[in-house]
Every structure is written in C-alpha cells, then in structure tokens.
Point group: C2
Chain length 414, copies 2
C-alpha cells in the first residue's frame, strides 16, 4: 500500500479523488500496489464526502507523516503551493502537480531538489489537461532532435476565436458567452492576455530544450485586439487567427519563443483545432510533424493525467523518472525582435492610395487583401518575411506618416 496526500479539494482535487475511486481495481493492477488517500488538505470542510475522515486543515500533518510517500498538489497558484511542494520534495516525498504556474515559475528549482533527493516531480497535467504530451515529447526526444513546438494551448481563447470565426461574434460577446459557459473566469486576464498559454509554452520549451524558460522572458500578446475585420481578412488570405505559443531552436543553440495571435493557413493541422480543444505540434528532425489533440482542461481529463503520474510514481518508488532540465543561462532566450516573420497589416487612412504608396516604399512588394464590405478607408496587406525589428520600425514609419495601424498579426508557418 502506498499512502498519498492531496493538497487541495477544488475542481481538479475532487476529480483526482473521483478517478482514484472509480478506477480503483485497474489502478491496483497497474501500480502493482494499492494507492491509499491518507490526507486531503483543504481549508473547507466536506462532511458528506466518503473521505470526510481524511480531511485536514494542517499541512504539518502531511509533511511530518513519513508514511506519506506521494503528495498531489492541485491547489494552483504559487503561494503556498511552492513552499508546500518544496518541503515535500526536501522530505523525500515524490510530488505530482497540475499547477502550470508553479512549474513555469519554479520548475528548475524543484526538479533540482527532486534529483538531489532521488524522488519524482511529475506534472503531465500542467500542459494539455488529459492530452498525453510531457511523456510523448520526452519519448520524441530520445532519438530525435525537436526543432520546434507550436501549440494552441489555451482553450478559453480558442473558444472565443472559434466563435468569432464561425459565428461572427464580437470578441466581447464571445468572452461573455465563454464566461456564461464556465470556460472563462470572471477575471479573464490570464487567458485573454496570453499568460496561461505563456506558462505552458515555457514548460514545453524547458522540457524540449533542457533549460528553464521563465514566463517573464517571453514576449506575450493576447487576443483582445483581434477584430472581426481581421477574421474576415484572414479568411480571404486562406487562414484563421489562432493564439499560438511557439518555441524554435535557433542555430546558435539559443531559442526564439513567443505567445501571440498568428494567422495560420487553413491547411495547417492546428487550423482545425476549434472550441475549447488544444492542439500541440512537435516538429522533429526525424519524426517530422507530430500533432497531439484533445481537451486541454476539465476536471476529469486533468485528474486522470494527475492520477497517471501518481501511478508512475508508485511504480518507481526509489527510482527517478527521466524529467529534468537545468536553470536558464544568459543570452539563451533571444529577443523576439531578432526573429524573422511575415506580418498581416491592416491600415485605416483617409487617403488609402497614399498609405499604399508609403507602405510599398517601406515594405517593398506586399500582398493586398480585399474583403467584402470593407470601408473605403481601410487597406490590408501581408508583407514578405523580414526581421521583426525592421518590420516594427516600418510600422512606426507608417504611423508617423499619419496612417493608423489598426492590426499587425504575425503569419505562422505551421
């Protein structure tokens, strides 16, 4: 019998209890050991729970009980999750978490402690909910160099963009609908400003390339500025706008990493990832493109990923799993302005002809896009690929010449 403690009894935490109970027999078979929930830490009380006698309000009960070998952290947030997880690892307990904020901010530090203590720190559920992604990437890595990872990593923003694309709903209306359906929080900032997707691409980048990438190092743009005009032009161009987190290995062993809305061709395997679904493309030198698709969130998918990690810990008591990356080094994350991209640009101007002339002087040949019902004062085009620093300078020149740059959306070659 292996005794575990669960920190937190919210959506994911209660899901973990549910999955452990519902799949008791098959888990016993697979873990080759009974997994026994000894403690559940929560400030609230759950007198009607079949596990009512296991609840505690005191973390000390757990940290001081040496019979607890595995701790599941599903509280979310950095405090007190970080302190709790750190103490557990230092005490020689393995930890499983679904907490992307924790892994993105403190992954290298916690993995180092886990390594020193010869215990496991696993976090399959922190990216992609129930989609197996952490282990498959590790598997891809075994005999293959990962070159690039790009993904639709946030279900809320993908739902909003899908509503804008399919039903011509405005951003605001789609956001309100997402909130009504429980897909978006009352304070939706972490989703719509790209912060959630940023944490996830940081975790994938750290795993794939071996050095921790911190969210603060990543240029992050959300979807709040995307309008139905842009959606219409994207369609004319033959694509859709998706919020993409992307990391690429560069020739000099540094990385380019970004989170931003991208215009991607309809043929891309990510273009059809709609609604609250996530899709993650892993590009390898030997495997080519491999795509993983599924529900990126939700109580049971996430809980089942957590429990799979618990089983893995239970099967490997005293043996370390593979997961590890070292801390960041300087100059490793390149300035996004050094990267090369094409850009979709939408301009409003009283004198569109003058804007066109100016744009062609600045950008050289561009691809003009024409949409139905466009205002006479609007013009949209796609530039050739060039360095982003150069692109931004030219956009500034346009602005200085009195033209309004209403949108500038990167083209994703995915």
């Amino acid at each position: 019998m292996i005794e575990i403690a669960i920190l937190g009894h919210g959506v994911v935490g209660s899901g973990v209890v549910e999955v452990l109970s519902a799949h008791k027999d098959s888990i016993l078979k697979r873990a080759q050991n009974e997994i026994y929930i000894k403690y559940i830490l929560d400030r609230r009380e759950f007198p009607d729970s079949p596990f009512a006698d296991r609840f505690t309000k005191s973390f000390d009960d757990i940290i001081n009980d040496d019979s607890v070998k595995i701790v599941v952290e599903v509280m979310g947030g950095l405090n007190p999750a970080f302190e709790f997880v750190k103490q557990c690892l230092e005490k020689g307990k393995s930890v499983v978490t679904s907490n992307k904020e924790l892994v993105a901010a403190k992954g290298a530090e916690l993995l180092k402690i886990a390594k020193d203590k010869n215990v496991n720190f696993l976090f399959e559920a922190s990216v992609g909910g129930g989609i197996p992604i952490i282990r498959p990437i590790h598997q891809c890595l075994a005999a293959n160099d990962v070159i690039e990872i790009a993904g639709i990593l946030n279900g809320t923003t993908n739902f909003i963009l899908t509503k804008m694309i399919r039903d011509q709903m405005s951003f605001q209306d789609a956001l309100v609908l997402a909130q009504e359906l429980g897909y978006a929080e009352r304070n939706p900032e972490a989703d719509i400003e790209g912060g959630d997707a940023c944490r996830k691409i940081c975790i994938l980048a750290s795993l794939a390339f071996g050095k921790h990438v911190y969210p603060e190092q990543v240029y992050t743009e959300g979807i709040t500025q995307i309008s139905l005009n842009d959606i219409a032009y994207a369609d004319v161009w033959g694509g859709v706008i998706k919020l993409i987190g992307r990391v690429k290995m560069m020739e000099n062993q540094g990385i380019q990493i970004i989170v931003c809305p991208m215009l991607i061709p309809k043929e891309s395997q990510l273009a059809n990832v709609d609604d609250v679904f996530n899709g993650i493309l892993v590009r390898g030198d030997a495997t080519g493109d491999v795509v993983f698709y599924g529900k990126g969130a939700g109580k049971l998918p996430t809980a089942s990923a957590v429990v799979a990690d618990v089983i893995d810990c239970a099967k490997h008591m005293g043996a370390r799993k593979y997961l590890f990356w070292s801390d960041s080094v300087s100059n490793y994350v390149h300035d996004y302005l050094d990267d090369t991209t094409s850009m979709f640009v939408r301009i409003t101007a009283d004198d569109v002809a003058a804007a066109k002339t100016k744009a062609e002087v600045l950008f050289g040949e561009v691809e003009s896009l024409v949409r139905k019902n466009a205002s006479a004062k609007e013009w949209a085009f796609v530039t050739k690929p060039m360095q982003e620093r150069d692109l931004q300078r030219k956009l500034d020149d346009l602005r200085k010449s009195g033209f309004t740059v209403a949108s500038a959306i990167r083209i994703g070659d995915l």
Copy 2:
C-alpha cells in the same frame, strides 16, 4: 556499454543505424550508457558501410553471443522474423521490432515469453511510424478506460483517397501515382485491401483492451471499390471517405472491430488527416477524445521510434516494462454483423422511382443525396442506424428486386 544486434539492413534497418550514429551523444546521455552495434544481420554485403565489419550472414553469431543484450528486428514478414525473435527472447535478450505483421500475429505469444524471461519486447514503431502511440495509449489507460480507438492507419490508401477527393483522380490513376512516388508497393494488395490497417488496429486493440486480437478475426474491406461517384456524394453529405480501423469496447466486455472505408463528417478530427499522414483517435471515459497525428511511415520517423525503444530497453536492463496482453478468448471478438451502423448506399437502376419505393419500404425513412451531373439511373441515400445484419439483408432484397447496389459505405460517427 550495451551491445545490440540489428536483424535486417533494409530501409528501416539502415535508418536505425543512421539515427544511432547521428544522435550518438544525446542517446548516450539519455540511455546513460553507450549503445554499441555489434552485429548487423543481412544476406547482402555492404562493403562501403562504416559498419562493414559488423555485418554477418549468420543468425547463430548473434543468438550465441551472450554479450548481445538487445536485438532489433527490422526484417519484416513472419519468417524467419518470428523464429529469430522467439529465440532471442528465450535466450534472455530484449527485442525491439517495427514489424507489425509479427506483433499482430504473434504478440501474445512473444509477450508471454518476454514476461517469463524478464526481458522487454517493445514495438512502438509497429503502429504509426514516428507518432508516439503505444506508450501514450498505455499512459491514457493508467487512470482512464479507453472506450474506442479509431484511426487512419495506412498512409498509402490515405494518399490515394486524398488524390481522389482533392483532384478527382480515379482510384487506378491515384494508385499508379502512389506507386511512382514510392508510397505503394508494386504489389499493393496489403495496403489497398486493408490488410496493413488491419494489423495495426489489431495491435492497438490488443494493447488497449488486454486480449490479443488476430487479423483473421477482423472483418476487413479495402478501398478498391470506392469510386469518384462516392467521393462526390460524400461531399454532398458533408463528409469524406477514409479507410478506418476501429475497435469499440462493448457492454459485455467483448469488442467490435472492423477495417473498412467509412464516410466521416468533415468536422471529425480525422477528416483533415490527408496525404500519407496517419491520425489515431483514442476515446477515453475521462480524457474524452485525444488524437495523435503524424507521418505513419518513412525511414527516419520509424527508425527514431525503434531507437527510442532501444534506449528504453537500455535504461531498463533487468526490469520489465509495462507492455502485456494475454491471448484471445472465445466470443471476445463479436460478429461485425451484430454492430449497429448507418449506411451510405448508391443504387443504379433503370427505374429509379421503383428503387426509391422499394428502398423506403425496406429501410423506412432515408436521407436522399443529390449530386451534380448524376446519371438519371442513379440514386444515393443514407439509412438510419440499424443492425448491420439487418442492413445487409435489406441490401440483398434490393438486389433480388433487380436493382444494382453500386456502393454501400458505413457512416463513421467519429
């Protein structure tokens, strides 16, 4: 240092040597051990290979060398692959194979020997080439009941169907093109008649549900009867025709398994899996739908999957990995005629009105489909879901009434 032998130096075998050489350093790091190719078995000679001194024509060299701990079987076919693999396992050597024919025909037997001898028998490359699928399914299984697996498992037929759908190429022309491009063999039977897809769904079914399913137990229909007429009607209906291998767990713990062309809606995540790509949908009770997508074949993707297994064996010398299923039991694989499905039916008749009347008597209400440029002697419809045995009886009744059933294609609710 861990010494290995490679049986076969064809496309995959030479790819394995290439991947082991090109990724030598990272493999050393990951396997925590040098992997040394001691023998390569092939009837031919390769005097220009940097490994020329390791070639042997005698399997005895390998089986009698106790220092060889891992054997890679990439010869393909059942003979002599089965005998060789069996002997290796019995001698306590771990075996990695990409040979789907071998795993589909002899998996349970070989897994049993591996278990008895406490060695590994791994075959990630046998399904989906470089797409990680065997391990992720196992991972999904840990805390989740897999309910259904459905996949586009054969790249050759998917390429042919894609050409038919996109370019209105005939089946014959598309097959010739596939042969010219090296996607189809000179004798394409195993691909176009569904045999290759059948082996792969057998392996996935065995893995997911724990009992061996043999190809002979699976009703298998290829794509040779699919016409451009059917493709056009599929489009009208809002779908595409794909060759699908599907297995479902039934309520009484038996399974329904089939390989056949299916009409699937365009919204399905499998509908956009085009060209030589594979896509595999795994439906779980907790995870919901998870889809894996990528190149299902090719030298380097397949070789990199083989090498990942070799590394796994190297890291687990003396410790067994998880993979196991038991042999088949009677009544486990249900008669496909007991399953329920809707059917797309295309009829040619001198008197179409009479055919319609007869069909409506037989099938009740049906959904008529109208395509452009249809002959006046043709009519197509989609039935409601009913038991396949019942459906086939009604189709026979139509034939007996003098109408020609030109096509009957199952609808896939994927």
